[in-house]
């Protein structure tokens, strides 16, 4: 019981920390919105009124408390650039981002595990060196370069011209596949090198353990050793890796892909909010990611327990 309590407390402190820092940076140090709202030629009385509405005259902690309450009650306000309610924006964009990023993310990891295992099994041989070499090469190419290159090679007449250049007109499965293809390829390409290297290292380390030697000594085939013993014992680091790369890949990755391909997901509205100084949207996104991170940690803990009997 105290374990769950401790984890919940840690999660709470985490959310508090994240929201506090973002509040500090964006709201406290952020631009004064007074003049954006009413222009330069305002009377002192009008200025005073607006400042009161925006809450600028209140104490620092009071404003932070307001911010937290807003987050908790999901009173996220409306976008200062479009006027649309933020909760509506999130409801509209989150599914798009998930539909866009999940296939590439999942495939990138599945391929990474497979290649990593192939390399670990043939450690030192030419196929291992080839895989490792390709991984390093993949790691040295910037995501932006890949996106630009893939767009030119796959979506324009200078290349194969098979897929749409930008946009997200998804009405059914075939159109979904056409719009999700190039972003997914790009995502897989950029993450595959890192994933393969990581998983290879995990499998190599696990293969050196005593109980693997025992398995060999009792006549297990290399395939059984790898897929049954090494893989199951590697699940803890694999789960850790996947869970904790979700924020990085899906959130940061979606920012770039969506702004580039013009796909209306969370990343795109975040980017627009950054450029426009749209605070309600930014506050909401930060809160959302903090909450997601805590959920991810909880999910990871549960998965650890399911997979490794030694975890209490």
């Amino acid at each position: 019981m105290s374990y769950t309590l401790r984890k919940a407390l840690q999660g709470l402190l985490l959310i508090l920390g994240v929201t506090f820092i973002s509040f500090l940076l964006m709201v406290w140090f952020g631009p004064d919105q007074t003049y954006t709202l009413i222009g330069k030629n305002a009377t002192p009385a009008q200025i005073q009124e607006v400042r009161q509405t925006l809450g600028y005259d209140r104490h620092f902690l009071a404003r932070y408390a307001d911010y937290l309450v807003e987050l908790l009650t999901l009173d996220l306000g409306a976008s200062t650039s479009s006027g649309e309610p933020v909760s509506g924006m999130l409801a509209r964009t989150v599914p798009v981002t998930l539909a866009l990023m999940l296939p590439g993310f999942v495939l990138g990891n599945l391929l990474g595990v497979t290649l990593g295992m192939a390399a670990a099994r043939r450690r030192g041989q030419w196929s291992d060196r080839l895989i490792s070499g390709l991984s390093v090469t993949g790691m040295s190419i910037s995501f932006l370069i890949i996106i630009i290159a893939f767009q030119v090679l796959l979506c324009t007449p200078y290349g194969l011209d098979l897929f749409p250049v930008r946009g997200w007109q998804v009405t059914d499965l075939p159109s979904y596949l056409r719009y999700v293809a190039v972003p997914s390829f790009a995502l897989i390409f950029v993450t595959l090198g890192y994933n393969t290297r990581f998983y290879r290292a995990v499998f190599v380390e696990e293969s050196a353990r005593d109980h693997i030697r025992t398995a060999h000594a009792f006549g297990a085939s290399p395939a059984v050793v790898m897929w049954k013993h090494v893989l199951k014992n590697s699940m803890v680091p694999i789960i850790t890796r996947i869970m904790f790369s979700i924020p990085l890949v899906i959130i940061s990755g979606s920012l770039l892909i969506e702004s580039y391909f013009g796909i209306p997901g969370v990343g795109k509205i975040t980017f627009e909010a950054i450029t426009n100084g749209d605070q309600p949207v930014l506050k909401a996104v930060v809160g959302l990611t903090a909450a997601a991170f805590v959920l991810i940690q909880l999910a990871a803990d549960l998965l650890y327990r399911a997979v490794d009997p030694r975890v209490a």
């Binding site: 450690r123 030192g124 041989q125 353990r209 005593d210 109980h211 030697r213 025992t214 398995a215 060999h216 000594a217 009792f218 006549g219 297990a220 085939s221 013993h229 199951k232 014992n233 699940m235 997979v307 490794d308 009997p309 030694r310």
Partner: protein, 277 residues
Amino acid sequence: MSTPVLSVQELSVTLRLGRQMLTVVDGVSFDLRAGEVLALVGESGCGKTKTAEALLGLVPPGLGSVRAKRIDLGGKDLAVLGEPAMRRIRGREISMVFQEPLTALDPVFRAGQQLASVLRRHLRCGRTEARAASLDMLRRVGIADPERVLDSYPHELSGGMRQRVIIATAMACRPRVLIADEPTTALDVTTQAQVLAQLTALTRESGTAILLITHDLGLVAQYSDRALVMRRGRIVEDTLVGELFRKPGHPYTAELLATAVGLARPPAGRDAAGPTP
């Protein structure tokens, strides 16, 4: 004079470490007779374990190379056998028990699963049959509540218990040869005696020959029939145990005996870089 169950002729193991090639086992030859306990004695680092691993073909090709004139197991030459055939021999005709019982079992599978999978692999029996056979084996290694142990995970069992499970697994297919590499070094003295007693009783019953690798001369005196003394990859002595202690042939053997305090463990100095990995 019965034919030996295992006859090793000029076994050599060379390891590649960085750029260097090191010969860790150099032209080792010996015979192992049915039902006997043959001790392989020597300091840490003399090549004992690598000899054992080479017999089972467990030296990875990337790490080094194994050469032998012949390794005869009941007419088959293990030195030229391919991998699939070797896998049928491992755990079935030759079994090996390792030194670290705490880490020898897979921590994410139950003890029973691991025992049963070996049985099913080599004896091709069904699930219920394997479970029954596993329970039986566990009883024979002196485990009083085999049901509980079968369904336990390794971290829920003591070191001695885990070693018994390993021994049960090793003996389950009634192998001709059991290689025991420092099987009790990591256990406390009481458990040590129990495990060894169980081991020798089991093997006597099934006629399994034991190659007992150890640096503990006390164990050699107490449990083995013959002894091989190994030094820097070579066999320097091959005698009956009685002869070994009374009239050691090789000066090195005399040295070994002299540094052993009574029949207790050799002092820590010589084993400084000891069995811990």
